[in-house]
Amino acid sequence: MKKMLKLFVAFAAMALLLSLVACGEAPQEKKAEEPAVEKAEAPKEESKNIKAGFVYVSPVGDAGYSYAHDLGRKAVDALDYTTTAFVESVPEGADSERVIRNMARKGFDIIFTTSFGYMDPTIKVAKEFPEVDFMHCSGFKKAENVNNYFGRIYQSRYLTGMVSGAMTKTNKLGYVAAFPIPEVIRGINAFALGAREVNPDAEIRVVWTKTWYDPALEKDAAKSLLDAGCDVIAQHQDSPAPQEAAQEAGAYSVGYNSDMSSFAPKAHLTSAIWNWGPMYVKMIEQVKNGTWKGDQSMWWSMQDGVVDIAPMGPMVPEDVKAKVNARKAELKSGKDTIFAGPIKNQKGEVVIAEGTTAPDGDLLGMTWFVEGVVGTTE
């Protein structure tokens, strides 16, 4: 034991010494910070290269949430005046703060932090680096140099709900839900409203997995819904496991994040998908022109091209497709009546009165289910 101790002391001393030597080269560190300062002075310079950083919560290869964001990054990267970099699988909390700070320190002009749990760290780091622009996805805080942003994916959910409502034979739709937070609840409600618009008898059964990515658990949850008689499975997690479960049971499925048809070609009706490219490119253009503004909440819609649905599968009849596409065209033109009253909650009480539409604030804090959903928001 004594020997081990000695050895570690020796090793640590060595490591410390070496690191001190490295720290001695302080000018090097300065170098990394300088470009950021220069940038503030000359934002209008034409030939300026924009550096954009992206922080992801999961691996980009997951075909899910981070994959969708990374497609957006690639769109940015394709511009001729940009360089991009990303760090994947960054846990929320303390680790993300370090990663974000590291990016800010290295002279990135704009940093996209793409998971809810990065909110506080983003705000903290933004305060230390006022010359860097930050975009935080799916939260609610903002600051001088921080915007929060998200997309109205519920619009896509509504359309996928319409498809599902038309395709079900048992009138039971299964929804493998992630966490009981407003984003997920809003999606379920929109899905239910869509389904019941074309099929008033449809009921939506919800099972919570409390996971974002756990293929085994999510598959089991889908199976339990199939066993309960559901013949369409929708999902909110990043793994395609519920799709596979549906196909194995000979049922239909609705994917999320990206077009999941390749995982279950026989079951896949459509997917609610993200399309971050247009938004990210626009933000980069603004940074380049010096017109980027902080302190905003941006909630972009189908009209802006940020959310969409995947092409509907061959099993969907033409008349259903036409109906869904008509509604999609409406949404594309900016007409969004999804949460227009009268809308009742599970108890049958009218929550959104006739003639009114739920304001964004209520949608963002939604913690109740609409009529037709079976399950609890806990």
Binding site: L5, L7, A10, A15, S19, E88, R98, D120, F140, T367
Partner: protein
């Protein structure tokens, strides 16, 4: 070709040779992986070094990450030394965070000198009590503590979820699972202008305290003696049952402190993203350090620095995150496997004729 012979005398400087050898081996394999990715090896290793130890900010990041690891690991090691296999540091960490949050939310206006100790005491009590459950189960019902401590982790995390999704949810959080932010009195602040917080000093005090306790008190001596096993302890008229309970309390309490420090200093509130597996990494650290407090300090720092460095590598060279896990796994595996050569040596087989 070779035969394996047990060493009769300990290998002088063997441990150092093995550690460096193992590090070199893992770095060499990682370098090959870099080549496989089509990256410049020397640039890669340099970036890894810069990101781990090469800058003040890198050291800062590593120290920050090492703090919870150290406390959890210390707790785990205390139990392991008595051959009590506490796999439940993760859950005890969660309970500690819950305890600290409970105090922070209940008495936000108390001055820090009173509130801080309250938080630490409650974190220790809850973390310790959580660890006491498997101890009692083990003593009274002979339930294997490996299973019970592991299972209690899940319960602890669900309890934490229940609280932040339910009764403690911040009303202004738009339904997101998190408590409201702690008052400034309940937050452990940075030392000077740096990111490194006073939890570091706390680690130092706890580490030295534990060392002194083990070395200079009767109870500490009994603990070490009981490490040889229950029968030895009973033979020496040591109250084994009492010791098991005490040691589990201590073990859970340390993990609880880690939870308290992490919630208060880093997140400033309780939320599910607090749980990133420090309790499990702590087990690896404890074994890597052979359960010695000072070694644990270095091992947690090294592991933390490695993780920080790999992030830098990811950012600069755009290699996949899995690379970091591979590198880490390689180092741990080769260091542990290298221990073999401490007790055995290889000798070239000579021909039969001597």
């Amino acid at each position: 070709m070779f035969k394996i012979i047990k060493r009769e005398e300990p290998w002088k400087w063997g441990a150092l040779v093995i550690l460096l050898g193992a590090l070199l081996f893992s770095l060499a394999v990682s370098a090959l992986l870099l080549v496989g990715q089509g990256k410049d090896v020397f640039e890669g290793l340099n970036i890894l070094w810069q990101g781990s130890f090469g800058h003040l900010w890198a050291l800062e990041g590593a120290l920050l990450k090492a703090i919870p690891l150290f406390l959890c690991s210390l707790g785990v090691a205390v139990a392991f030394r008595m051959q009590i296999w506490n796999i439940g540091a993760e859950g005890q960490f969660a309970l500690g965070a819950i305890g600290a949050t409970w105090m922070a939310l209940s008495f936000p206006d108390l001055p820090a000198v009173i509130l801080m100790p309250l938080m630490f005491i409650m974190a220790f009590i809850l973390g310790g009590t959580w660890a006491l459950i498997p101890a009692i189960l083990k003593l009274k019902l002979r339930v294997n503590e490996i299973i019970s401590t592991l299972m209690l982790n899940y319960i602890a995390i669900l309890l934490l979820d229940y609280l932040v999704f339910g009764v403690w949810k911040d009303p202004t959080s738009f339904g997101f699972p998190m408590t409201s932010e702690f008052s400034s009195n309940a937050i452990i602040h940075g030392i000077g202008g740096s990111k490194v917080h006073w939890g570091l000093l706390f680690c130092f005090v706890v580490g030295v305290g534990l060392w002194a306790f083990m070395r200079f008190t009767r109870l500490g001596y009994e603990l070490q003696a009981s490490g040889e096993g229950a029968r030895v302890a009973k033979y020496a008229k040591i109250r084994y049952g009492m010791l098991v309970m005490f040691v589990m309390c201590l073990s859970g309490g340390f993990a609880g402190w880690a939870g308290c420090v992490e919630t208060s200093a880093v997140l400033n509130r309780l939320q599910p993203s607090l749980m990133v597996g420090y309790g499990y990494t702590a087990i690896v650290v404890a074994w890597l350090a052979r359960l010695e407090p000072l070694n644990i300090a270095f091992a947690s720092f090294l592991l933390a620095a490695l993780r920080v460095g790999v992030e830098n590598l990811q950012l600069e060279l755009q290699i996949p995150a899995a690379y970091g896990s591979i590198l880490e796994g390689l180092i741990l595996l080769s260091v542990l496997a290298g221990q073999f050569f401490l007790t055995y040596k290889l000798e070239p087989k000579r021909s039969q004729v001597k």
